[in-house]
Amino acid sequence: MNSAKDDEIYWNTSDKLVFNFEDNEECQIFGVSQTTAICSQAGTFSVDDDADDYLKSDITPSNLKPLLSVISEKTLTSILNAENLHNVHQEKPLVQPDITLRRILLGQPFMLEQYKSLASKTELLDSAIASGDGNAILIVIIFIAKTLKQSLIQRLLLERPEAVNIYIRYLATTLRTNELTDLLTMLGRSKDAAMTNLQIVLKNTPNVERLLQKLQNCCRMHFTALSDCREGFYVQNYIKLLEWQVAVKATEFSKPLDIHSSVLDCLQNACQHHWNASEGSLVSPTNLSKQHDVSPRQYQCVALTTRASMQAWDDIESIVLTKGWLGSKKLQTSLAIEDILQILHENQAPSSLLAKFLSYIDDLDRRLSLAKKLQCHRAVIDIFVLQRDRVALSEYKSSLHSQSEQYFYAENALRASTVKWKN
């Protein structure tokens, strides 16, 4: 900010010096007292002693002949007119924002060059915003951005959020991240600056190493200052996950993980290849799960599906059962029992395992309907026995393949003398 101000002073001062210097000669020609000229300068900046001396030393020697005795008036006029030609367009150019904007809206040719003064540029921008045509707003901002200095552009945008939004989109699409970040930071929208930068990084980086590096940069530059922004925490986790992927890739020859692999994809990979890794090791599923604070529901779902798909039935219990305090096993899971059974069934789990999990459903009717749906005959038969429903059991037996294992199981159950049938 300071340097911008200094620049301003520098430009203003030097401008004035040049102009006044020339003015002086002219003034003198027309016999205007030079002190007045100097005084008029004095109003714009403090009179510097040196400058004063310099101007004094420049006083024209008195032995000059009168100008018009040397050259004709015509010559003088020509010379002066040539000078004035440069200044003709100092009169106010014709600016009509409404007409310009209508031309933009209707797709007719238009010119913006005549909008020179700050006031006319401002008016044009405001009219564009009032017209509601985003295309017109962007045309005007781009024109303004080319023809005004940074601090003035920012001042204009500060009070015009409609214009800012459209300009930001343009800067983001054309990947002008520095300008974008400066603008948003200046407006006090540091979270937007962080998220937009992140968005640009995520959209435009197909390579893992580069992505890792850019995310680290982004985190340092934008997210560290945002203390209560959840996304910053996720970005850090993303970095950890990418590092994990790189490390895993270095240690094994299995199919490499895609750059867009999610935590659950990686977890599945870990459950498949590193199920028995010690808990503290980098590649172990529990470690990965802890690192990202994966919810028990998601962890169990992935672990169960992966181990079941590998027919590793012995591992199933350890995922969803815990030992109760009398040594009995208890179902402890965030998954619905229906979902567990569905996963097991889809992977052709042995019926004894299905039966075991079915027995965790307390409601017998619900258990029965699920057992039937999953075609877990043993469980169905057991339930009929529990319900002492001989009729239903006989009916069910007749629906089974005779001479099959289940058929005999049903027959044995019907023969059992310990059951007191209710019908």
Partner: protein, 565 residues
């Protein structure tokens, strides 16, 4: 000869064709046409290969890597998407480096974005590439639905960029020229207001003569004024078809087969389109039986009879059979995809609307986010809109689960949803836990009578209330506005409330509405649910409606467009 509204709407397609053909004619001689893939389907709606050939198009290409055009004149047809345009310019650069004698034209739909002119200049291609814009007319589908086939929601509500509004305005202007300028205009929302203003200034400068006539009315509404209608699951046949199958520019695609959704050429479709889904399958079954018996009857026909049958009926019956087959297969797909989840989903949506069982709703959202991310995010957005926001602690587990299941590359998603007005955060407030608490949203919806209180169960078979499209729990705002403008709603309290809204305007004499078409336009995308809700009013009042929007979309597509930003 009487000119009907249908005849007038039919002209849209012809005008679009003329517009394109005139452009092609401007480039004399043979040329290649290179089309951005997403514009293909839209283009097919109004022009075919034969017509293109007639105007000198030699080869047609899809815009993609490594395409090899052969003619020296090349016309690229692209949408105003700056990145797609940049790709074209890269391609042109590459072609120039091999062959200097080429001539390139860039035809941009619907408008040339400001940044593109600058880009062309920066790329040193100014004058080498000729830029033209082409804004074709509304694409008509399903009888009376007009769409620009351009999704603007993300532009308008995420980027807050109104560059495409003139495209809607221009199409509305030409629609007015064709069917008549509305006598009464109802406008709700800031973007609608802008569109209306633009349409008026086009009227002023383009219309050398008055349009066909002055008749009917127009309703303009911003999408943001009714987000629930875009987030709830519609339960009509077409509504669910839109959720599950792909529908593009009026054609539905299902497992390799496709059918044009047009009630005029497909009677069965016209019959089931707006039915509650539970009443669709029985109808199709009866229809199938009927067709079968007709076919059986042919077996006993005499020769002469058979001849007549083949000449007059056979092709119709064959087509009807194909169409019926499509709808039955579509029903099966819908049931297969949604079946088991449907009831639970409906009950969660209902609970959210009634601001009940908040904890269960949040749980449902979280447990479904792994397998049905869009469905879950949609419900979260609904919850946020309906209950004036969600708390950080409610969102956190959902966001975490979402990122774990679908990848950290989606980290900006929730922030984007927030920017796009789909999630709002609020602090936890004890008052909101009181049983009598009602959200600001619910209060407003009640004032417009959008939350019907059915004393008896809704008749879903022959419904009388527009809320049937959402299982009886919600009436879309646009339907209420339509009832209002057609003088169907006379409750002064609701009317006063409408007039008190800051961005509501009503111009013209309402008595004049009764004749002429009703143009219903939603800026930011219209949904099948809303269309069906309004069609019920169309039937009961005998008016003719024309629906217009930038796109016809579903809640999933809305969220997808936010995700793909």
């Amino acid at each position: 000869m009487d000119i009907t509204l249908d005849d007038r709407l039919d002209t849209l397609q012809q005008i679009s064709q003329r517009k394109l053909v005139d452009m092609l004619d401007n480039v004399s001689g043979k040329k290649d046409l290179i089309i951005e893939p997403k514009l293909m389907k839209t283009l097919e709606c109004f022009i075919g290969v034969t017509a293109l050939r007639r105007y000198g198009v030699d080869k047609i290409f899809k815009l993609e890597e490594g395409l090899k055009a052969s003619n020296t004149q090349r016309i690229f047809l692209v949408s105003g998407d700056l990145i797609a345009c940049k790709r074209v310019l890269n391609q042109i650069h590459a072609e120039f480096s091999q062959n200097r004698g080429l001539s390139h034209h860039l035809l941009v739909v619907p408008r040339i974005p400001a940044a593109l002119e600058l880009l062309v200049e920066e790329e040193g291609l100014h004058e080498l590439v000729k830029l033209r814009s082409l804004s074709w007319e509304f694409i008509r589908s399903d009888g009376n639905v007009l769409s620009l086939e351009t999704r603007m929601y993300a532009d308008l509500y995420y980027h807050r960029d109104t560059s495409l509004l003139p495209a809607i305005a221009k199409n509305l202007w030409s629609l007015h020229m064709i069917v008549g300028r509305p006598k009464v205009t109802l406008c709700l929302g800031k973007y609608s207001k802008i569109v209306l203003k633009m349409t008026e200034s086009m009227e002023e400068y383009f219309s050398s003569q008055n349009p066909a006539s002055q008749c009917g009315c127009m309703i303009l509404m911003d999408r943001a004024h009714d987000l629930p209608s875009a987030l709830l699951t519609p339960v009509t046949y077409l509504g669910l078809m839109g959720e599950i199958l792909e529908i593009k520019a009026g054609t539905a695609y299902s497992k390799g087969s496709q059918t044009k959704l047009n009630p005029k050429t497909d009677q069965v479709y016209g019959e089931v389109r707006d039915r509650h889904f539970s009443h669709v399958f029985p109808y199709l079954r009866d229809k199938a039986k009927l067709l079968k018996s007709e076919q059986e009857a042919t077996q006993t026909m005499q020769l002469a009879e058979m001849k007549r049958y083949v000449a007059t009926r056979l092709s119709k019956v064959t087509e009807a059979k194909r169409q019926l087959g499509f709808h039955i297969a579509a029903c099966e797909t819908i049931v297969g995809e949604l079946g088991a989840a449907f009831e639970a989903l409906q009950s969660v949506e209902k609970s959210i609307l009634e601001c009940r069982r908040r904890k269960e709703c949040l749980e449902y959202i979280e447990t479904n986010i792994d397998k049905h991310p869009l469905r879950s995010l949609r419900l979260l957005a609904l919850l946020s809109v309906v209950s004036d926001g969600v708390t950080q602690s409610e969102v956190k587990p959902i966001q975490t689960a979402y990122l774990h299941a679908h990848g950290y590359q989606n980290i900006p998603m929730f922030w984007k949803m927030e920017q796009a007005g789909l999630i709002a955060y609020r602090t936890d407030n004890v008052l909101q836990k009181l049983p009598k608490w009602s959200s600001e949203w619910a209060t407003a919806a009640q004032r417009l009578k959008q939350l019907p209180n059915h004393t008896k169960p809704l008749d879903l078979k022959s419904p009388t209330c527009s809320s049937y499209v959402f299982g009886g729990s919600y009436i879309p705002t646009i339907a209420q506005l339509t009832r209002f403008i057609l003088n169907q709603e006379t409750d002064t309290k609701s009317l006063n409330y409408l007039h008190s809204l800051p961005d509501f305007t009503l111009t013209g004499q309402q008595e004049a509405v009764q004749t002429g078409p009703v143009i219903i336009c939603i800026v930011g995308g219209i949904t099948y649910g809303e269309i069906a809700a309004c069609r019920l009013i169309e039937q009961s009042t005998g008016s003719r409606f024309v629906f217009a929007s930038d796109t016809i979309f579903t809640g999933n597509q809305l969220l997808e467009s936010i995700k793909n930003i």
